[in-house]
């Protein structure tokens, strides 16, 4: 009030989620930034709010046969099959590199059973350099005939409870957009103890090669990402905001700062940059720079912008 507390952008940018302070609201989206080190030649990891690493499972996973990706209008469809080195190799071989940076590291985890989720969470508990867990619930539950955990509020809540029981780390739940009402999912995971939600994971899609009359991807369907999905993602963040009691991290098609600001104004406390990093490995840092410029120009802070949408 009248005093200039927030003189420099350094103070305009930080956000807090589940008690953790992030130096700026821009994170990398899981699966689009490897384990961080791959991007070091192209960008300054220290200038990111957080690095969210590729989804980790209990055991290493080989992933799906190819073709695994196909381009779509302003987007791409992927069916990588959650290939990853496994949680053990991550802790031993990948995390030490990331500890050299001041940037927060968020471990994205997934499982095929409740027990898998608990076990991965337990193994990451207390590991130096991991700031939080992001739980990917967009995976099929092998014990329930392949129903995706994240499309059933009851199953989703059970996953969150299982993870919460296994760790003292803050738990961010990454929601699937392939549901009728995102608000139901937000309530379900929050009631189960989730400390924040990431919205959205990829939208299920499909491309047909008409010459061959075959699906373009070996797995037939895949996850759609990129700017094509952004309006859907922004809408879901806005809907979620109406019921959410915990912070929202907005994800989906962010290419530049303006896109990230859409999410923040619609109700996201932070954002994640995904597919854009494939096109420009420095994209996430550029988004952070653009947000800094915006808050400076508007004489405001990121925290004040969150959910400032006027309708």
């Amino acid at each position: 009030m009248g005093t200039t507390v927030e003189k420099n952008t350094g103070e305009r940018l930080p956000v807090e989620i589940a008690g953790i302070r992030f130096q700026n609201p821009v994170m990398t989206a899981s699966g689009t930034f490897g384990y961080g080190s791959e991007f070091a030649p192209y960008t300054d990891l220290n200038r990111l709010g957080a690095v969210v690493v590729k989804g980790l499972s209990l055991k290493p996973r080989q992933g799906n046969p190819g073709p695994r990706i196909v381009e779509t209008p302003c987007g791409m469809l992927n069916a990588i099959g959650l290939q990853n080195v496994g949680v053990e190799a991550f802790i031993k071989e990948k995390l030490p590199y990331l500890r050299k940076y001041s940037t927060r590291v968020i471990a994205n985890i997934f499982g095929e059973t409740m027990e898998d989720y608990s076990e991965v969470a337990r193994m990451l508990d207390g590991v130096e350099g991991v700031a939080a867990l992001e739980v990917n619930i967009s995976c099929p539950n092998v014990k329930k005939g392949g129903i995706v955990f994240g499309t059933d509020p009851f199953e989703a809540a059970k996953v969150v409870m299982a993870v919460k029981k296994s760790t003292r780390l803050p738990v961010i739940t990454k929601l699937s957009p392939n549901v009728t009402d995102i608000k139901v999912m937000v309530r379900a995971v929050e009631d189960a103890g989730s400390d924040a939600v990431s919205i959205i994971n990829t939208l299920t899609g499909m491309v047909v090669d008409v010459e061959k009359r075959r699906p373009a991807l070996a797995t037939v369907t895949g996850g759609l990402s990129g700017p094509a999905i952004r309006p859907v993602a922004v809408r879901m963040v806005w809907e979620a905001r109406k019921v959410a009691r915990t912070p929202i991290i907005g994800v989906g098609g962010i290419m530049e700062a303006k896109d990230a600001l859409e999410f923040i104004i619609a109700g996201a406390t932070a954002v994640q940059v995904g597919t854009a990093s494939f096109i420009d490995p420095n994209a996430a840092v550029k988004v952070a720079e653009g947000i800094a410029e915006y808050v400076e120009r508007h004489g405001t802070t990121v925290s004040k912008l969150v959910g400032s949408l006027e309708v």
Binding site: G31, T32, F33, G34, E38, F39, P41, Y42, K54, P60, R61, Q62, G63, P65, G66, P67, R68, I69, V70, E71, P73, C74, G75, M76, N78, I80, Q83, V85, G86, A89, G226, P227, M255, T275, S277, F278, I279, D280, P281, N282
Partner: protein
């Protein structure tokens, strides 16, 4: 390894539907067989970069064919991205990531290199021919106009034999039939081109008991080994659990043909 705007020095027709793109590139250093990822326009469609092999590096001091200040690509227009690229003009810039990938390995001391290129698969071999100072290129061209690209090899000490399926230039038939005639037990085969050709070259090399290295193509999103989209099956199943897939962009694009599961390609 960097992502940078590069000035277009030339972008001209090399053969019908096929272009040479010259990029200003201070102190370029490229291994034959490496590639770059080009953002053909700043728009969102097409969204992803397009991969292209490096055809040549020129303009450096001295005679080192692997270093220089101009990077040349040779590409064929096959779809939206390449069409947009072909319309880009001199003095405009395109953003380029690279050079990426491993490139072809060194040949053994006593090995005689046979390069087998099909169509645009000729691209990595001009630099390789210049580096080797000799060698034999077997070039399967799609017709007369594509066959004309062989004249780019005139300045090298490499012997060139062309084949076309219709016999309009050079030998009539498949380039791998030429390979069968030329291969000896001292050969090492380097191949780049359509999958069918690579499979056939692998068989010919195996029958002769010699090594064969192939350059593979896969749809790519990142080019740097993070999206895990460009996977090919490795033959060494289960040897090391997580090695069953190899990434063409970061572990290739050149592989020992023995390491690839050709059934699943």
């Amino acid at each position: 390894m960097e992502s940078k705007d590069r000035k277009i020095l030339f972008n001209e027709v090399a053969a019908p539907g096929c272009f040479r793109l010259g990029l200003e590139w201070r102190s370029a250093e490229v291994t034959p067989g490496q590639f770059v990822m080009v953002r053909v326009s700043d728009g969102l469609d097409p969204l992803l970069r397009r991969p292209f092999g490096v055809y040549g590096v020129h303009g450096g001091r001295g005679k080192n064919p692997l270093k220089g200040n101009v990077v040349e690509l040779l590409y064929k227009v096959v779809g939206k991205g390449t069409r947009i690229l072909s319309a880009r003009e001199r003095n405009e810039s395109v953003n380029v990531l690279g050079p990426l990938g491993n490139g072809f390995p060194e040949a053994g001391k006593d090995e005689k290199v046979i390069m087998v290129g099909g169509g645009m698969g000729i691209v990595p071999f001009l630099m390789l021919a210049k580096k080797l100072g000799d060698g034999l290129l077997l070039y399967g061209a799609r017709g007369k106009s594509e066959a004309a690209l062989a004249k780019d090899f005139k300045g090298t000490a490499c012997r060139v034999k062309v084949s076309t399926v219709d016999g309009s230039v050079g030998a009539k038939g498949l380039v791998t039939e030429l390979l069968e005639r030329e291969i000896t037990k001292d050969s090492v085969v380097y191949a780049c081109g359509p999958v069918g050709m690579l499979k056939a070259a692998t068989k010919v090399a195996a029958a002769a008991g010699v090594r064969c290295h192939v350059s593979l193509e896969r749809s790519m999103a990142c080019g740097i080994g993070v999206c895990l989209g460009c996977a090919v099956r490795a033959k060494t199943h289960g040897e090391r659990e997580n090695r069953n897939y190899m990434m063409v962009c970061s572990e290739g694009p050149v592989f020992d043909s023995e390491d690839i599961d050709w059934e699943l390609l």
